[in-house]
Amino acid sequence: MNGWTAHTGMAVCLDVDNIDTDQIIPARFMSQPRVDGYADFLMHDLRRDNKGTLRPDFILNQHPNASVLLAGKNFGSGSSREAAVYALLDSGIQVVIAQSFGDIFASNAINNGVLPALVSADDWQTLHSSCTTPQLDCKVDLNTSTVNMSDTSIPFVIDETWRLKLINGWDDTDLTKEYQSQIDTFRARRFEANTWAWPTASD
């Protein structure tokens, strides 16, 4: 995964609360291998009518090049499906700004280089008023933890580890290797002191 420190792109607003991961990607698309690309599935049933035609009034249809999404509360709640992040990423969305996120969605986003930027209710309103029309030069800066658009600079909150992961493009599996000896010691101790914690062999 490549790290990044600043992103500039078009910001649009999807002012709907509780866009759960079932809406971000309906379950029926999740059997696809990742290499096939997930862009077409992003918010599929919100974006298209029953015949599969793109709805002209849906913001992401009007501005398919948007890369910053100002979203309603509780974005990404529900199912743990990481495919929701794949659909965003494959559609070019690098940053989602909201007042709250589903916990599992937020960590999935970080693991794929997508920033879930948490902002206060007041700051969300400020962004919302400048985002009534798409903002072409929205700049999101991980060094300063700010979203900058139309002369305003809004701070966002992000866990420090997550910020560093995004900047450095760190992969947990690589990081964890450094702790292999502690893992081995822990494992040995756990099963010595707690033999019950190992599954009884099936016959």
Partner: protein, 469 residues
């Protein structure tokens, strides 16, 4: 002086390998459950050519995509591919696999406890948000995404920051017709669907102590619908009775020492929680959802909310849910006609759920069609031994095999667009049960009652033998 600790503190400490300066903990994973959806994670592993670190602690089961009818000749190529992929991934890595022909097959969160894979004191991960179910045993259990699944496969560990602690105390005695599902929908409606975000919930109080393991699992299962990744209940004699003798549970030589260790897990007297919620059981009633999010729930004798009574943002949310659900503001929810029912899922398809629904339906005919899919193949067999399948079939419902089925509708068991379904599942999201489907979440006895009337009805108004419910 020792510091009073919560169950979360104790479970966390028991699994923490290291804590980094930034506060993230590397935790040891005792059990890892994988299903068809784990194909992304296995692909990540293959891309890096990594082995599975602990195949003996990993268990695979087919549930999300499995057909519930005619399952030995799968005609859908995608479904067949998903199941085959899981089978070959597990085989390649030496992981125990429970496929369609295995009598242990079932929904991952049902079979974990059923097989004794789930135990008190363990850390359990699965790439599924309802992994919180296993917390009912006093385990640290939470759902993870595909990258994390790959990490657990490769290292048997997971990075996690310790969540805040929250206790939901429920005291009193459950009123007639009220179940664990109603408790869950009640607190989620009270706190809202993100009310417990960032927290691990411990359920406690006299009501919880009286609940069966099946009911405790229903409650912990729904934790995620209030935003909490973890739900847990202190293990006690009811837990030990359930676990004892299960295939993977500690054998007799280890049983006493295991039990002794498990008894230590309970929250110490006076241990502080970041948040405490109190619910009095007299305030509980059969509860169901009217909207498109699990917190949009009301008591069955309540009224569909009127947006006019709320601020703009909330009114907008209510209006759009009402539009999707085709319901009118301010009307009683009782009497709303339904098109079909679904009794299944990891929330409410255990033997006790099936027995209670059967008790409502016994000797009667339903007015609308519906599907009953037991939570596991073993539960299906048990129900058939008890003659419960006949009750459902004679009532006019379809008795099917076990899987996630209409809960997520990946296997083709979809609810049609515009159709209204009374469902024992956990999510009433837009399109969850199929594009345009309208889901009302409720308990198994409420679903059975709705089937009899072809409409939403207060199960307490039916003349039932109280002892059955």
């Amino acid at each position: 002086m020792t510091i009073a600790r919560t169950m979360l503190d104790k479970l966390w400490a028991a699994h923490e390998i290291v804590q980094r300066e930034d506060g993230s903990s590397l935790l040891w994973v005792d059990r890892h459950l994988v299903h068809e959806g784990s194909h992304h994670a296995f692909a990540k592993l293959a891309a890096r050519n990594l082995p599975v670190a602990e195949p003996a602690l990993t268990f695979g089961v087919a549930d999300h995509y499995v057909p519930t009818r005619n399952r030995l000749q799968i005609t859908d190529a995608t479904i067949a591919r998903m199941i085959n992929t899981l089978q070959s991934n597990t085989q390649q890595h030496g992981i125990e696999f429970m496929g369609l022909d295995d009598p242990r097959q079932g929904i991952v969160h049902v079979i974990g406890p059923e097989q004794g894979i789930t135990l008190p004191g363990l850390l359990i991960n699965c790439g599924d948000s309802h992994t919180s179910t296993h917390g009912a045993f006093g385990a640290l259990a939470f759902g993870i995404g595909a990258t994390e699944v790959a990490h657990v496969l490769a290292t048997q560990t997971v990075w996690q920051k310790k969540p805040k602690s929250m206790r939901i105390n429920i005291n009193g005695t459950l009123p007639f017709g009220v179940t664990a599902k109603d408790i869950a929908l009640h607190w989620i409606a009270k706190l809202d669907n993100s009310g417990a975000q960032g927290h691990a919930i411990e359920y406690s109080g006299s009501v919880i102590k009286q609940l069966s393991m099946e009911a405790r699992m229903t409650l912990c299962n729904m934790s995620i619908e209030g935003g909490a990744r973890f739900g847990m209940i202190a293990p006690d004699n009811i837990t030990f009775e359930y676990v004892k003798g299960r295939p993977y549970a500690p054998a007799s030589a280890q049983w006493e020492s295991a039990k002794q260790a498990w008894r230590q897990l309970t929250t110490d007297e006076g241990a502080p929680f970041d948040r405490e919620i109190r619910i009095d059981s007299v305030d509980l009633a059969p509860t169901l959802t009217w909207g498109t999010s699990p917190d949009q729930a009301i008591a069955v004798d309540g009224y569909i909310p009127n947006p006019a009574a709320y601020d703009d943002a909330k009114a907008q949310t209510i209006n759009s849910a009402l539009e999707y659900m085709d319901l009118k503001a301010g009307q009683p929810i009782e009497g709303t006609p339904i098109d079909q029912i679904f009794l299944g899922s990891c929330t409410n398809a255990r033997i006790e759920d099936i027995r209670s629904a059967a008790a409502v339906l016994k000797g009667k005919r339903v007015k609308v069609p519906g599907l009953v899919s037991p939570g596991s193949t073993a539960i299906k067999a048990q129900a058939e031994r008890e003659g419960l399948d006949r009750i459902f079939i004679d009532a006019g419902l379809e008795w099917a095999s076990s899987g996630c089925s209409s809960c997520v509708a990946m296997n083709g068991d979809t609810i049609g667009s515009g159709k209204r379904c009374a469902s024992t599942t956990n999510r009433n999201f837009r399109g969850r049960q199929g594009r345009g489907s309208r889901t009302h979440l409720m308990s198994p006895i409420m679903v059975a009652a709705a089937a009899l009337h072809g409409a939403i009805v207060d199960v307490r108004s039916l003349s039932l033998d109280e002892a059955c419910v």
